[in-house]
Homo-oligomer: 333 residues x 2
């Protein structure tokens, strides 16, 4: 019997096809990377991008040469950094100017290394770059949220092969994050506990959806996974804001991210994927009910009309089976 | 300056790249259709599907031969029709059995005709099949909603080429529809008017986002289109429930659907697309604040990590430009 499962935060129901249990090798998605003749993200080509807003070496020291991580404004930004919001109506509609920041985090100087190929220490540098840029963009009173995300593989929307993530600072809190905040608040008002803390507790105890764990970080296949091999990385202790993460949290999150990405790469033959950092809105960093985490979505199935229109997902691989496959995928982190 | 626009019903913000104004021919999506050696939907192969729950000729008369529209249970259903819901908890999570109906509406007996190629009268037969199946499934007290949708083209998730739509009856109201109901209710409580009626009024008056119109039906590019060439078909007069549609509404909706699909086919070179019928939940057919409509989403852009994670969309073609292109695409309906 297939199951209908409800995400405890968003109230989103998904169909879990428990009987089909589609295996990793059954997903025949296109795994091509975008290719380009000239790479604007490679060392030596720095003049091909707008000037860096952050450029650090492996020790985190600011440098324009021998950089390990480099952050530049997107050359083709979706939003403009300069101007006023000018909030206004248009008949019954609401609108404002498209003000925001759109930055690219070049995660490595090596063109042919994916994020999974970087060392734990190199991934820590990437996390610190996200943090430093979020902290800097928070100083701009026009912004309410910073979306940090990554597209890997052409199918998942990557337009350049050289490994990079992106940051979009917005004057509004995106709908999905607002919904998370509201769902987590409802749970907190009812139970006086953080729903993510409760998830960490229940998943650690049961173990059936655990993919990887360290002392301070848990990687799970969420109970109501909307797509096969969806993975969440959650700090175990209550922590609303990624930017306030301690040294040990960043170390273990980097370790968990590397391990999970390597496991996905091995089990699913380098799948395209998207991930997004879910952290508190700017100015809401101390909430008792919100808990930062990372959501990774391998792009293995087409999101078709049913999902688009209904917000209702069909997942052909139960998360317990997905976790089993990923636990079994041996990697050297 | 790009614009941030808010959907008045869902509160979803989208970035409209007003400066880029990407044109139809700039979208280079894969337009392949799925292909199969044997088609279970073709006349003569009726035994390859489960038995029909509806089979009618062009006059709407029930027949097993020379059928014009045929509805069969999905051979590989996402949900099972038999059993109890058995709602239950699993620690902090909620779940129930995957009970539901999953039917396929074979829209024509002709293998090589797409929905856009059918005559207005043939499309009316398809609408009537949707209605008749919805009315029948409403009799089952376990169900709360019927999602009618269509995937056209392999990229949009179609797995068989022969033109068909699908119906999934669910024991819950899908999240997206609940959100619509709640957003429309908020607007109604504030203004004592239906938000869709207000949209029809404003769009008819301005005309800038109108794609096609008849006396009783309006086709528009919505103000906060989440993807390029998104199109909504809305009956002009207040009508919560598709199933209660009059003869003239079905005639003009079929005409509008055919015209819009032909315009999309012409302007965008037969794009993959998804559409979904948005109608009232079972038992809520008389609401003063909800208004049935059809949402068509051409699948021209990758939905990448940013959109998935944030619920925040970037649309490179402003709806005013999209409407202009589609108005200019001459078709013989």
């Amino acid at each position: 019997m297939p199951e209908l499962r409800k995400d405890p935060i968003l109230g989103r129901w998904v169909i879990i096809a428990t009987e089909r249990g589609v295996r990793p090798k059954d997903y025949t998605v296109t795994r091509t990377q975008p290719t380009e003749a000239f790479c604007p993200f490679c060392p030596g080509n720095e003049s091909a991008t707008p000037g860096a807003v952050l450029s650090v070496n492996a020790e985190g020291v600011s440098t324009s040469e021998d950089w390990a991580v480099r952050v530049v404004p997107n050359k083709f930004p979706a939003l403009k950094i300069e101007g006023d919001l000018d909030k206004r109506g248009h008949g019954l509609y609401d609108m404002m100017n498209g003000i925001g920041a759109h930055e690219v985090i070049i995660e490595t100087s090596h063109h042919d290394k994916s994020l999974a190929d970087l060392s734990q220490e190199e991934i820590e540098n990437v996390l610190r770059a996200w943090r430093d840029r979020l902290l800097d963009l928070k100083k701009d009173a026009r912004f309410r949220y910073g979306v940090v995300f990554k597209n890997h593989g052409a199918v998942a929307g990557a337009s350049l092969e050289h490994s990079h993530s992106q940051l979009i600072a917005l004057p509004i809190v995106p709908k999905r994050v607002s919904e998370e905040m509201m769902g987590a608040l409802s749970y907190y008002e009812f139970r006086n506990r953080c729903v993510y803390c409760d998830i960490v507790e229940q998943e650690t105890r049961s173990g059936e959806r655990v993919i990887f764990e360290t002392e301070h970080v848990l990687a799970i296949a969420p109970f109501a996974s909307r797509s096969p091999f969806e993975t969440w990385l959650i700090p175990r202790a209550h922590a609303p804001s990624f930017e306030a993460g301690s040294k040990v949290i960043f170390e273990e999150m980097a370790q968990a991210l590397k391990t999970v990405l390597c496991k996905l790469k091995k089990a699913l033959d380098n799948p395209p994927y998207n991930f997004m950092l879910h952290t508190s809105p700017f100015g809401d960093e101390g909430l008792p009910h919100y808990h930062w985490h990372v959501e990774i979505l391998p792009a293995l199935t087409n999101v078709a009309g049913f999902e688009w229109g209904s917000g209702f997902y069909i997942n052909p691989t139960p998360p317990e089976r997905a976790a089993q496959f990923l636990r079994a995928a041996e990697v050297t982190a």
